[in-house]
């Protein structure tokens, strides 16, 4: 029922964007399924988060580190069988790739490509359920692309890792999933 509502909301609020992006009704269903998978992850990580001490808004660096470590360990344990494609299913990957392709047309695409490929990401592992190294730069995301992609909950972030598009958990730094060949 919830997912039907999400689908309906996408159709309602996203009809203009969908028309601009040439998305079909089937594409929207696929994106609704993608969002459902994203929500499933978020619900699971919130359960883990509630089991660890709350991080105050005036935390010390030690408290931040402990909280991050506990959240990372808890989620890694809960997702021990996670695989690439759990969120970015084959069909979702195809739709998202087509959205990206449209956003990369022309000059704008060259700018995004330059930013992504210039970033210092050597040695970043492209593996699910593994932390993104905190010593490595995070590539800023093009606002136009973020506007076109399905909106993620605030706990999650799209990030480019080389030519792949990953979803990272902003608080524990884990790579939740990724799709390859996302940089046209």
């Amino acid at each position: 029922m919830k997912y039907l509502a999400i689908f309906a909301a996408i159709i309602f609020t996203g009809s203009f964007a969908a028309a601009q992006l040439n998305l079909t009704e089937d594409d929207l269903k696929i994106l609704a399924d993608f969002e459902m998978r994203v929500d499933r992850y978020t619900e699971m990580r919130e359960i883990v988060r509630r089991q660890i001490p709350t991080l105050p808004k005036d935390a010390t660096p030690e408290q931040i580190l402990v909280n991050k470590t506990h959240l990372r360990d808890g989620v890694q344990k809960a997702r021990v069988n996670a695989r690439q494609g759990d969120l970015f299913t084959q069909s979702a990957t195809a739709v998202i790739r087509s959205i990206i392709k449209q956003e990369f047309k022309g000059f704008k695409g060259n700018e995004i490509r330059k930013t992504v490929l210039e970033a210092d990401q050597k040695g970043v592992p492209l593996l699910v359920n593994v932390p993104y190294p905190e010593t490595k730069e995070l590539v800023e995301m093009s606002p136009a692309l973020l506007f076109a992609l399905p909106q993620l909950p605030k706990q999650l972030r799209y990030r480019y890792i080389g030519r792949s598009l990953a979803i990272l958990d902003r608080d524990n730094g884990l790579i939740i999933d990724f799709m390859k060949d996302a940089l046209p």
Binding site: E134, P143, A144, L146
Partner: protein, 288 residues
């Protein structure tokens, strides 16, 4: 014995007073120091933990003796490399502790080298948010996260600014909407989404970093843009010569900005690690 002590103490007192007076004399100040003005510093790309960062921090501290700023805004890249407790200490706390001991607060925004968890760090005053607003006198400050400007953040900016009747509106974030840097250049994507909101809602001044130099951009659409990204790293000689965007630029040393807002005018002065002033001037408040 007593006479000897009096002579020695007098000598030391004279030496102390003359040294302090000399130090203060050498701190050239072009700002008006108006009563009840808002006084602050703007720094960026600080978190290297390098000897140069500490040297600049010392000059920032020295300037407080002649310009009693109340707070510091940080335009991101607060921490390069790791973010363990030892990194917070070396790349931030130890460098600015003498300034914070004088009850000066730091307000941070996030750069591409910063983890989101910095928003929870007490001394960055972000109150758990990646983007936030605070007010000092008649001035509203908007700290934004230019790494990830999604619909949620843009809606927040629009909502906050449209209902904001503050006399002055200042935004600060990491990626510069305009830049003459050879390494990065203007962040067109960020500019396209934020500038129309800034124009519509009367933002007066924008501070950014990312480029490791200082640049004052020629006013664009009525907004004054600054790059103050040489707080801990320098990209020597990186400003493109003859850039049509540049009003003044300096890429030969680390620098920070002294800023004072009084009534309808914002005054600024840019200081290097050696205490040299490389730019100064004033910006009038935008007509609304």
């Amino acid at each position: 014995m007593k006479t000897n002590c009096i002579i020695r103490c007098s000598f030391l007192a004279i030496l102390f007073i003359s040294t302090t007076a000399f130090a203060q004399d050498s701190l050239n100040l072009t700002l008006p120091m108006a009563k009840d003005s808002v006084k602050f510093l703007a720094i960026g790309d600080t978190g290297s933990g390098s000897k140069e960062q500490y040297q600049l921090a010392k000059v920032m501290l020295d300037y407080r003796t002649v310009f009693p700023y109340e707070f510091v805004i940080m335009v991101g890249d607060n921490m390069y490399g790791g973010e363990k407790p030892a990194d917070f200490k070396k790349k931030f706390e130890d460098a600015y502790r003498p300034i914070m001991d004088q009850k000066v607060s730091f307000y941070a925004s996030l750069g591409n080298h910063d983890q989101s968890n910095q928003r929870m760090y007490d001394l960055f005053n972000m109150n758990g948010e990646e983007y936030y607003r605070f007010k000092k006198g008649d001035v509203a400050f908007y700290a934004l996260n230019s790494n990830y400007m999604d619909k949620r953040q843009i809606k927040w900016v629009q909502d906050q600014m449209s209902g904001d009747g503050s006399k002055w509106k200042i935004a600060f974030f990491h990626h510069p909407p305009y830049s003459s840097g050879a390494a990065h250049g203007s962040s067109d994507g960020v500019r396209k989404v934020v500038e129309p909101i800034f124009i519509k809602n009367g933002v007066d001044v924008v501070f950014a970093g990312h480029e490791h130099f200082y640049e004052r951009i020629k006013p664009q659409n009525g907004i004054q843009y600054f790059i103050t990204g040489a707080g801990g790293k320098l990209r020597d000689g990186n400003v493109k010569a003859n850039s049509p965007l540049t009003e003044v630029a300096y890429d030969k040393d680390l620098s920070f900005m002294l800023v004072e807002i009084s009534k309808d005018m914002m005054y600024f002065q840019v200081i290097t690690r050696t205490g040299k002033t490389v730019d100064s001037g004033s910006v009038p408040r935008r007509e609304r």
